[in-house]
Symmetry: C2
Subunit: 197 residues, 2 copies
Amino acid sequence: METKIAVLASGAGSNFKALVEGDTGPGRVDILLTDNENAGALELAAELGVESKYLYPGKYRTRFGIKEEKIWAEFLLDRGVGLVCLAGLMRIIKGPLLDAFQGRMMNIHPSLLPAFPGLDAQGQALNYGVKIAGCTVHYVDSGTDTGPIILQNSVPVFESDQRDSLAERILVKEHRIYSQAVKAHCLGRAVYSRVVR
Amino acid sequence: METKIAVLASGAGSNFKALVEGDTGPGRVDILLTDNENAGALELAAELGVESKYLYPGKYRTRFGIKEEKIWAEFLLDRGVGLVCLAGLMRIIKGPLLDAFQGRMMNIHPSLLPAFPGLDAQGQALNYGVKIAGCTVHYVDSGTDTGPIILQNSVPVFESDQRDSLAERILVKEHRIYSQAVKAHCLGRAVYSRVVR
């Protein structure tokens, strides 16, 4: 059975594109939803022939308004969305949206979690001096990049690397594992299990 | 010019063996030093034809006595040791020994640091559910597994993995990167740089 996927993005949407074009098995990207009227992902959606929609997120900068988060959740549920994929959504999800899609919402993060959660993971990795970096697809829970891991992939860090060269190398792997993780989920092969900490 | 290496171990000493048998460039394992009269590494040293010595570490269980740590440092300095390699030394180094060998003391840790510092890194990794694990050779600073990274290597984690199967897979990589890191250091190719945090 097909799973309807909603991709939530605030920016350019390169991972959105990867999900539309990649092999997601019985999952199919149904709509792009954004909290940013100027998101590059909106243009990309038009090019890719995917429906897209801007929904007002509320007056806060880094989280949803309570009322607005309910509206987002209801919109997605009404549409029959079975899986929510965050792809550069610059907003914390903690309320009704998380409750509605717990275990059915995933995110991609440009580090080998649990190392370097939060903003600018690639810069954090370079500053720390790691020799192996990577990316992680994980289910979303109420923490920052703390949810159960579905897939990871690694890349080498070179001495000559700047933030952008490292980010670019990681992004290639992001595009690959995001659709793989979505496929695994939609086939029932990804397990949502609590993380012991 | 040859660099005299002292390996400090409390246990079986498999990384000690890897350093003796591996290609460490201009570095040569000069002595095995242990805080444990029953360390398996003592037998191993005899088999490998490497000098070994037990030195009393003081009455504490997880750190050196202040007087004893001075004695360890003086012993190593008097012997002309240029590089100290920790290989399963079950004791924190914070005092005179660290001061004497700062930037000339390295450790190997069975995780992709900064993830999973401290005890049972492999068990921590399994509990967290990471899909990629690994090991790290780093210079020792006063923190727990926080020093500048020299080399890392990664391994996949399989769904069927138990702690021991994962630890074994990581250990193979440990043996490989420890001698590589020592070689890089002894050739002046490893950089001791402060970590930004």
